[in-house]
């Protein structure tokens, strides 16, 4: 396989074009829709993907979540980076080129 993706604090992510990311009222959650598949996201996952908008850097996403959840920045940073790594590995997001 190719080398694992490294998340950099300066990077900006976007949702991959094969995925549709949006709020789904009937599930009371953010969902990712793709051909014949659905991923229901938990609250933090949904919040992180909301910032994969082609504008916010990873550092800014961490700032936003730290403020939003009033939590320890380092713990948030670890969680955000891990989630972005998993999301990238699953093909949900890509680095904005």
């Amino acid at each position: 396989m190719t080398t694992p993706h490294q998340v950099s604090l300066d990077d900006t992510y976007v949702i991959s074009p094969t995925f549709l990311f949006r709020w789904e009222e009937s599930q009371d959650a953010h969902v990712l829709l793709y051909p014949e598949g659905i991923v229901k996201l938990n609250e933090t996952g949904g919040t992180i993907l909301k910032y994969c908008n082609g504008e916010s850097t990873v550092a800014e996403v961490i700032d936003e979540l730290t403020a939003l959840y009033d939590a320890d920045r380092e713990a948030i940073a670890e969680g955000v980076i891990k989630f972005l790594e998993v999301s990238h590995a699953k093909g949900w997001i890509r680095v904005k080129s």
Binding site: M1, T2, P17, T18, L20, R22, E24, S26, Q27, V31, L33, Y34, P35, E36, G37, I38, V39, K40, G91
Partner: protein, 380 residues
């Protein structure tokens, strides 16, 4: 078409989250593995109108549907395809067109893009012109290749879906190269599942175990070489797995197919079970037929199960497999899917596999999809 390799990663919580609209069974191709009913031409006069389809699209969305597939037959034969896609897109569905490509033009692709279509699944038979034309029953290879490029030019994410049989399994490396050159996001090498036309032709379509193992190794090599640039799904035929597929994630669990005549089916193959009455959207609300109709409740959950499924610790993973396959091969839809090695009927699958390894079995001719073939029940 039920697909073993594309299970949804969401519990539908009792909602029909994935709807498939079979807009028409008409199709310019005559594929030998077609999953449409063998009496498909009986449905022509009974197709739902534009307004009836729109009603289905709206009602399913209200019930929590998020995924919608426009399929057939060949859905582009419906002139109202763009209008229906537009309606679905406006309601927030992820819209997917499942097409042979025949009937698509640059102009229609532009209109579908405008309507909000999110994804296209293009059926493809082979990387080799003669093989492709033979399997499709008509000259279609060049047209399909041109339309694949056109679809990419319009910026649609797409999956190339190649039903795999013994006639094209040796071409798997070339098929992968072709899909990669075309810039596909996904390639699905879907071993044909044996219903309808494919079951009629099973002896001549089912690959041998050796051929499958070779193809799987080729897929693994290609995945290493291609990395993230293209995702390859390799759907192994359940005949060789020893375990049944978790068909449709369970009967009446997340999936609802509406046939061209408005019949509601728990799976596009479900009409195989000719003892069931399939409720029609012209006569019943979607809400009633999904939640209350006897047919949708028939194999929902596990109360219907017999042994060995009833006491099996895997019953929540595979739901006893496919009801249609159980009926077709064992005569009772409530039996365990014979693809399961625990089924008392598993020898039927093993016999078919043994037949596939007998060379003289492959000399006969394939039956191309054609009108006027009546094996099953009448269209309602």
């Amino acid at each position: 078409m039920p697909k073993a390799g594309s299970a949804l990663s969401l519990d539908g919580e009792g909602k029909p989250i994935w709807v498939l609209l079979e807009l028409t069974y008409q199709c310019p191709l005559k594929c030998v593995f077609c999953s449409n009913p063998v009496d498909f031409d009986r449905y022509r006069e009974h197709e739902l109108s534009t307004e009836e389809w729109k009603g289905v699209i709206r009602d399913a969305r209200k019930m929590g549907a998020m995924q919608i597939g426009f399929s057939g037959g060949e859905p582009t034969l419906r002139k109202d395809l763009e209008e229906l896609v537009g309606e679905a897109n406006d309601l927030g569905y992820y819209t997917n067109l499942i097409t042979s490509g025949i009937g698509l033009t640059s102009k229609r692709l532009a209109a579908l893009k405008e309507a909000g279509l999110k994804h296209i699944q293009l059926g493809f038979q082979s990387s080799d012109r003669d093989t492709a034309n033979m399997l499709a029953g008509v000259e279609s290879f060049d047209r399909k290749l041109a339309i694949a490029k056109e679809i990419k030019a319009h910026g649609f994410p797409m999956v190339l879906n190649v039903p795999i049989t013994r006639h094209n399994i040796a071409q798997v490396p070339e098929i992968i190269d072709l899909a990669s050159e075309l810039g596909m996001e996904y390639l699905e090498l879907a071993n044909v599942q044996y219903y309808n036309w494919a079951l009629l032709n099973r002896e001549q379509l089912l690959p041998t175990r050796e051929e499958l193992e070779w193809a799987e190794a080729e897929v693994a090599k290609a995945r290493e070489r291609l990395g993230d640039s293209m995702t390859i799904f390799f759907v192994i035929p359940d005949y060789y797995e020893g375990r049944p597929k978790a068909c449709m994630n369970g009967w009446g669990s997340i999936h609802l197919t509406i046939a061209p005549d408005g019949s509601a089916l728990p799976c596009s193959q479900a009409r195989t079970i000719d003892t069931l009455e399939f409720p029609n959207v012209r006569e019943h609300s979607l809400e009633w037929l999904w939640r209350e109709s006897p047919t949708f409740q028939k194999f929902r959950g596990d109360a219907w199960m017999k042994e060995p499924c009833r006491s099996c610790d895997e019953k929540e993973q595979d739901f006893g497999g496919c009801r249609c396959q159980a009926l077709l091969l064992t005569g009772d839809a409530a039996n365990a899917d014979p693809a399961c090695s625990k089924s008392p009927h598993h020898h039927l699958i093993q016999q078919a596999i043994q037949q596939s390894a007998v060379p003289e079995k492959h000399v006969g001719s394939l039956i191309a999809r054609h009108g006027g073939h009546h094996l099953g029940r009448k269209a309602t």
